[in-house]
């Protein structure tokens, strides 16, 4: 199902305004970029619950922690690269160690700030943030899901990191969609390989699935709107019955979605996981789509990964059959030798 196209930031601004109306504990903290973060509607509607701390991103989590420890639900806004890593020690010590009910929004995440270049690309945040106890990480794929996760993060007692790309994408969900913390969202069926994707790259996964279908490969698409908490059972229920998994993310392959799925697969599912994402390099300036293609976040890459899994599985199946045959022959030979003794 494809609906209207909507900017994820605009959806966030709308959802935040609505949240402010229904929850008086919500306080918004800005860092001199309220316009870019789409928090102005909230600011205009609730001037007494909106504070611009200025160009002071490391103060966002600490001020927010103080507000949260006294009962508020503060929502911190900055570009992801500053939300996550500029104030990382503050998030670790003052937010997570305090178990403060702080919500951190990483705007323009991934390479979605394209032309501004690597200084403004948020590509290591999941890796860093997910190592912090108590922290939940949300990464919605369309405007409907953004609305849902904004509500959910306010209802969730504890720190939350919300990752939003600055992109316009069609709605994949209807109004009846309900996001649930810790749950995956199967968007398209398929029995050969599972594509786990997060954020707006879920759309790329769906496109890749169509291409693969034309080639006779059936790919399942699973949207990962909640990167943490994410239990083994939930991942296994979505992917264990296919030949393997391909993960797709606009993030360094070290520590992101690919690592999350790989850790679970290696622990118990024991099937191959191939990762599509940013290799361990600094990115560069250009249009976001071009940048993604350059580092290998593309339909071609997904396609190659899927084929590799299918082919290797077939080769392995062949080798297994040969081994079984070989083992049978050996047993027979042993038997013959043994029998010789009788």
């Amino acid at each position: 199902m494809i609906g209207k196209t909507e900017d994820l930031s605009a959806a966030f601004g709308r959802a935040l305004l609505e949240l402010g109306r229904v929850n008086e504990r919500v306080v918004v903290l800005d860092s001199d970029i309220a316009d870019s973060c789409q928090t102005e509607a909230f600011r205009n509607a609730f001037p007494n619950r909106s504070f611009d701390l200025g160009v002071a991103e490391q103060s966002l989590p600490t001020f927010a922690a103080g507000l949260a420890l006294c009962g508020k639900i503060p929502i911190c806004n900055s570009f992801g690269v500053f939300s996550a890593t500029r104030g990382f020690d503050m998030i670790r010590q003052s937010v997570c160690y305090n178990r403060a009910n702080v919500k951190i929004v990483a705007h323009a995440a991934g390479q979605s700030m394209g032309y501004t270049g690597p200084s403004h690309h948020t590509v290591e945040d999941i890796s860093a943030i997910r190592a912090l106890p108590y922290m939940a990480i949300l990464s919605p794929c369309d405007g409907v899901e953004v609305t849902q996760v904004v509500r959910a993060m306010a209802e969730h007692e504890g720190p939350v990191y919300l990752r939003l790309a600055r992109v316009s994408v069609p709605h994949l969900h209807g109004d009846d969609y309900r996001f649930r913390m810790g749950k995956l969202d199967r968007l398209a069926e398929g029995s050969d390989v599972t594509l786990f994707a997060t954020g707006d790259l879920v759309h790329l996964a769906l496109e890749a699935r169509s291409v693969l279908a034309d080639q006779g490969v059936r790919a399942r698409v699973v949207n990962v709107p909640c990167l943490k908490p994410l239990e083994r059972e939930e991942v296994a229920a979505q992917g264990a019955d296919t030949l393997g998994a391909v993960t797709i993310e606009d993030h360094n392959v070290l520590g992101g979605l690919g690592s999350i799925i790989s850790e679970i697969y290696s622990g118990s599912i024991c099937k191959p996981v191939l990762r599509v994402g940013i290799p361990d390099v600094f990115t560069e300036s250009d249009d976001c789509e071009k940048l993604r293609k350059k580092v290998g976040i593309s339909i071609d890459s997904i396609e190659n990964c899927v084929h590799l899994i299918v082919e290797r599985t077939q080769q392995n199946a062949g080798r297994t059959a040969a081994r079984k045959e070989g083992a049978g022959q050996q047993q027979r030979a042993c038997g013959e030798r043994t029998n010789e003794g009788f």
Partner: protein, 296 residues
């Protein structure tokens, strides 16, 4: 609002002042014994310099209820210089937040008393700290909450002068001023030594008063070991409106341990038996002089 006459009078409040002084002596002895008997390295320097500040806040000044550590309307205290945790623990315990027996397992697995303050484990601790430069901005957030809610509570934060090397202190100072956080009172432990020793000529942050004034804070200065002087500054801070206050508490690093008082030793050290005895004798001498004064 607190009445202005909360300031302690050297004559009228003599009994109260001596009572507080005895509590501070007891806290110092307790901290020395804790470190010595458990054979652990403590930040004696940073811990001993704030004993009077904490004693006054918890035994006289703040609106708190040890039987209800999470009471919403209580005053908040943030020990931004979290490495001085033993002083906070000693005072919290003597104020009734938890029994002394908690110290038996101090800084060990399962303990409610961690190496640095942990609000989720220790009754009476309002904020976990330990990474310098963060307690002040968290206290700012608390003061902002009090302002939004028009709540009765004030927020006190104790920071170190060495801690003022952290940029986050000055970022918070700027924002607190812009937000007009007049429910925030910062007690700056100005002992002029950081962990590695004397700050002058190395990592100096003076002139301190000028810096805070430049950030549009109300600035007070006092003897951080003198209750009359401390309480007078606290009164001034509490009646300040429209901007936050900082009290520059002139203190002696390692107060009560002669070696630490007189030489530029590091803040963090083991207490050798000889130094322990020397410190106890020094405290006994202080107490005798004090009791002698009272008899006069």
């Amino acid at each position: 609002m607190w009445p202005k006459d909360r300031a302690l009078s050297p004559v009228g409040d003599r009994a109260m002042i001596q009572q507080l002084a005895l509590k501070a002596l007891a806290a110092r002895r307790f901290i020395l014994k804790l470190g010595f008997e458990q054979k652990i390295r403590l930040h004696y320097g940073a811990t001993m310099s704030i004993v009077e500040i904490l004693t006054l806040l918890y035994h006289r000044w703040m609106t708190i209820d040890p039987s209800r550590p999470s009471w919403q309307e209580r005053d908040r205290f943030v020990l931004s210089k979290g490495h001085a945790a033993p002083a906070l623990y000693a005072v919290l315990s003597s104020a009734g937040f938890f029994p002394e027996s908690e110290f038996d397992n101090f800084r060990r697995i399962g303990s409610r008393l961690q190496g640095h303050p942990d609000r989720n484990k220790t009754p009476g601790v309002d904020c976990s700290t330990g990474s310098l430069g963060q307690g002040l901005p968290v206290a700012c957030g608390m003061a902002l909450c009090s302002k939004i809610d028009e709540a009765p509570y004030k927020v006190y934060a104790c920071i170190g002068d060495g801690e003022c090397n952290e940029g986050s202190i000055w970022e918070a100072a700027l924002i607190a001023s812009n937000l007009g956080l007049d429910r925030l009172i910062v007690l700056l432990d100005r002992n002029k030594k950081s962990s590695y020793g004397v700050m002058k000529g190395r990592n100096d942050v003076e002139t301190m008063a000028d810096k805070w004034r430049a950030f549009n804070w109300a600035v007070f200065e006092c003897d951080g070991h003198d209750y009359v002087s401390l309480s007078s500054s606290l009164c001034g801070a509490e009646t300040t409106r429209g901007r936050p206050s900082v009290i520059l508490c002139n203190t002696v690093k390692g107060k009560g341990i002669p070696l630490a008082e007189n030489t530029p030793v590091r803040s963090n050290f083991y207490l050798e038996p000889e130094r322990y005895r020397e410190a106890l004798e020094s405290l006994d001498k202080t107490e005798n002089e004090m009791r002698h004064d009272r008899q006069d």
